[in-house]
Amino acid sequence: MGNKFYTPDGFTDLLPGLCAYKRGLENKLRALYSLHGYDEIETPGVEYCDIYTQSGFVGEEELYKFTDSAGRLLCTRYDGTIPAVRFIAGRNETFPVRISYIENMYRAGKMGGGKQSGFTQGGIELMGAKGAKSDAEVLAIAIKSALEIGVTDLQISLGQVEFFAGLKRQMNLSDEAAEDIREAIKRRDNVTIDKQDISPEDKETLLAMTEMSGTYDVLDYFLPRVKDEGAKKALTELKEILDILEKYDFLKYINIDMGLIGSEQYYTGMIFKGYTYEVGFPIISGGRYDEVSKAFGKDISSVGFSISLTLALTALMRQDKLKTEPVASVICGGDYEAASSACEALRAQGTPAVLDTTGLSEDELNAYAEAKGIETVMYLNGGEA
């Protein structure tokens, strides 16, 4: 069996100091979400496996599974969105509904080497709301989330999955060819696209999907090239989102990336990822997912995003933007009665204070304070002090 001192592979403890810092970030996100009218919910963290696997949202091998006393298959929470949809779909709501969460997620089967299996995400879901204005609200809050917790070197890639679906119709691609091209675009693999049996203009359009980045210029490039109504609508909706984000002065963080194509059964409209320096994975992920609620027998157009606090913490640490401080700044020792009332007096003023309950001598107390990084030592001699 495993060693008593170690956490399972893919999981880590959060150290004192760092934990307090992370709680601080959580509180900032919580305040931000509620400022925008998003109600926080807490899901149990254990779900029926079905809610993830029924429509292929998540592969079976990526879930930590166990059974309940009736032998039903359970799993730990994989993401915030699916339990949120389950929760809302099961209620009689007045839409739109705005909910938020800050929870731990558990993902099995991921490749090792720095990718955590357990991590914390904060996120919001705007449910029962269609259109670019709803998309833009979620995207703006995503950007605010990153800025709020100190991730200021931020790049957001923004795409639209309906665009490629439209091109597939326009170019008369077979399902098989479309799947090859989709995979190639995801990998930015121009070789495979080049080999496709399609017209030179179509090839140029697809290659541009893997290469172009910018804002309005990218949309202007593609607009005359599309005839399919769905693809056109995708572009005009992105333009509307850009118009709204410009008012927030957030355009500087945005890059239109038409090569951003999510898994088809999940995302149905705009889609975005957020990146920063010093972590190799996106820290923000979001988009529109109108079809997910259908797996729960409802039809709720929704859009949402999540930010990984665990990755953000790593990024901040590597960017030298993170400073942790010991919780207590004063330690009182010596005469127990005197030290105890001194501590209470300090706490009453809001100064965190530690009371020595083990009867340390003055030297021991000083050594202890130094080891713990506590600035001020108060050694009290009972009545004499």
Partner: protein
């Protein structure tokens, strides 16, 4: 500063040749030494020399922005990377190989045992493409021994000239994939360091096209 992970060996030399042709100063990386990190302050490039199968790991996790590695390694490691250029060199085939007597009879053997250094590629090929279950025996070298000693019926391995196979009475039976060296890019670096990476991709593509035109 861009960090480039190279696969130790011939692939690294060919990559540096191409980069030189594309106008990059790679003298620092040419230095014959046992250093594993070779930095060139002037050109803003840092090279790391890694075992080929580790290159996708360095790039996926962001320890390197760019990597050059064979398609075989990419298929085996299955990481999410941008695969932006087929560099054309390091060409070979991933094959199912075995005794010549098995030619066109491969499908007749049920529950084949397959010896290979590439268990993931092998599984994807037999289960995904051929829709059959096989028993995979992971080996670390001299894979040709497996069918000769009766450890396995066939092997899945890289075939360049095929000489080792023929000399041991084996033949390529089926092609699993065409292999060549690829330039891969970390997904975050592509966004955060686009100003450095895009021009590099463009000039490498140009150098490749010129090379093809000359031959």
């Amino acid at each position: 500063m861009l960090t480039i992970a190279l696969s130790k060996g011939r692939l690294a030399d060919q990559t540096l040749d191409l980069m030189e042709k594309a106008g990059y100063d790679v003298t620092a990386a040419r230095e014959k030494s046992r250093k594993l990190i070779l930095e060139d302050g002037k050109s803003g490039l840092r090279f790391i020399l890694a075992k080929p199968s580790d290159v996708p790991t360095y790039v996926d996790l962001g320890a390197a922005d760019i990597g050059v590695v064979g398609k075989d390694t990419l298929l085996e490691e299955g990481r999410q990377l941008y695969e932006v250029i087929d560099l054309g060199f390091g060409k070979c085939r991933m094959c199912v190989a075995g005794p010549a007597s098995l030619k066109d009879k491969l499908d007749d053997i049920p529950n084949k045992r397959v010896g290979t250094k590439y268990p993931n590629i092998t599984r994807n090929y037999f289960e995904g493409v051929k829709k059959e279950s096989v028993e995979i025996i992971k080996l670390n070298g001299s894979v040709e021994l497996a069918p000769l000693t009766g450890l396995a019926e066939v092997i899945v391995d890289i075939v360049e000239s095929g000489r080792t196979l023929y000399e041991n009475g084996l033949e390529p039976l089926e092609t699993v994939a065409e292999i060549s060296a690829r330039l891969v890019v970390n997904r975050v670096s592509m966004k955060m360091k686009e100003d450095e990476i895009r021009p590099m991709i463009t000039s490498l593509r140009q150098a490749l096209a010129e090379g093809e035109a000359n031959t």
